[in-house]
Amino acid sequence: MQDEPTPIELTKTVADFLRNDITPMISGHNAFRLRVAINILDLVTRQLTLEGGSDAREVERLTSLLGMTGSVIELNRVLAERIAKGEVDLRTSGLAEHLWQTTMDKLAVDQPNYATYKRELARDKRA
């Protein structure tokens, strides 16, 4: 077991330093690149925070959808293959819900400000 602070705390503290202390000192093309760099660290922090829980739920859904066990990547390969062969499609019970949930979990890490995601999230909260 590794010691603390946790990776989440570490990436967050570097991102905050770059955002608050370095950004005001940089201009031009490097300011743009610095913003990209901060965005990367923020994404990594979100992934470290959320991935464990979302992967576990994804494996649970895939296990029941496919009737088999495996790692999250193995199960995704099997699902992709079955869709390609036409063995599974949107009429398959649970597939649309699974894909929606999985995709929402990806957006929560990749681009939580994406307009389509924000609208669907608001919809989930109302429901």
């Binding site: 690149r33 990209v36 990367i40 995704n76 869709i83 499609d89 894909l99 957006l107 990749d110 669907e120």
Partner: protein, 332 residues
């Protein structure tokens, strides 16, 4: 160095030009290099743009029409009254600037978010969806006889390329599989009418002024095919930049786009446009995947490309919205 070469080049074809000034490399454009500069002339300086292949850049990607074709298309569009920069010169080996061309600079804005939000475009915005219909009709009406040699594409051919690109990622994406399958099942077949297709006609590749569209840029993906492809691509959600209820580039409705297209004497097919919107959404998703590959493989390990790679999931949610609307119903 660059200014000397440009001055030498410009002097050989622009009567009265005495040199060039203010040469500056513009960022953006992954596959091509863009420079802005002014041609010095006793009757007043002329703003110009150089577009060329970056040094050491190997063969053009198979999808690109090539810089000479791009120059020819822009000139044809300009001559036909389609908003387009005037091409001033196609580079020759004597210019020692590589392959490319020089065009007149058109003032205006290309950054989509600024066009969608800044006050100075507030009068143009409501007219743009309609105007884009007119412009596309103009592009699709360019006579075949004058066109340079271009690839002839169909949805089926493009789907084969999508499939190859997706498999080369070697990373399972069930939503992309679903989209590939849907597109194969819903391909309406080759279009009865084949026209010039711009191939990348969208918010971000247009110069917009307070009066509306001033120029169509980035013809490098031009080909021959179904004209409805361009109408579908301009509606892809990624080019609405947050204005998701205004399908045409975040400016307006499909109905306005179609009305402009029809007013310019051309017929549209909404079902084909929808098919191409799904195609386009997957296409951008795969292009994001391509950026991820280039991030990994090219020595500069660009952070920007890495982050574009992480935008593929945006197209996954948009594909789900198109194909698996929540609440039970879905496209069949």
């Amino acid at each position: 160095m660059m200014e000397e070469k440009l001055a030498c080049c410009v002097g050989s074809w622009y009567p009265g030009a005495t040199g060039v000034t203010a040469a500056e490399k513009l960022s953006g454009g992954a596959s091509q290099e863009t420079w802005r500069f002014d041609i010095v002339h006793p009757e007043g300086n002329v703003g110009a743009i150089l577009r060329r292949a970056p040094r050491g850049y190997g063969a053009a990607p198979s999808r690109a029409a090539g810089l000479n074709a791009e120059a020819r298309l822009m000139q044809l569009a300009f001559d036909a009254g389609v908003p387009s920069p005037r091409v001033l010169h196609v580079l020759t080996p004597e210019d020692d600037l590589g392959p490319g061309f020089i065009m007149q600079r058109v003032d205006g804005e290309t950054i989509a978010r600024k066009i969608l939000r800044e006050e100075k475009f507030s009068h143009a915005r409501p007219k743009l969806a309609w105007q884009l219909g007119i412009v596309l009709a103009g592009i699709h009406s360019l006579p075949h006889t004058h066109l340079p040699e271009l690839r002839r594409m169909t949805a089926a051919k493009e789907l084969d390329e999508f499939e190859r690109d997706y498999r080369s990622l070697n990373w399972p994406k069930p939503v992309f599989e679903l989209a590939l399958r849907w597109l194969r099942d819903h391909d309406p077949g080759p279009s009865t009418e084949v026209t010039l297709v711009h191939g990348d006609f969208r918010n971000g590749n247009l110069i917009i002024g307070p009066d509306g569209v001033r120029a169509v840029l980035d013809w490098e993906l031009a080909h021959l095919g179904d004209p409805m492809e361009d109408l579908g691509w301009v509606c892809v959600n990624s080019w609405r930049f947050g204005e998701i209820d205004k399908p045409v580039g975040g400016f307006g409705s499909r109905e306005e786009l179609f009305a402009g297209y029809e007013a310019a004497g051309r017929r549209f097919n909404p079902a084909r446009v929808t098919f191409w919107e799904v195609m386009g959404t997957l296409r951008w998703g795969l292009m994001c995947g391509g950026m991820m590959q280039r991030f990994r493989e090219s020595p500069e390990h660009s952070m920007e490309r890495a982050m574009i790679g992480r935008r593929a999931s945006e197209t996954e949610i948009d594909l789900l919205k198109l194909l698996a609307t929540r609440g039970g119903e879905h496209a069949r």
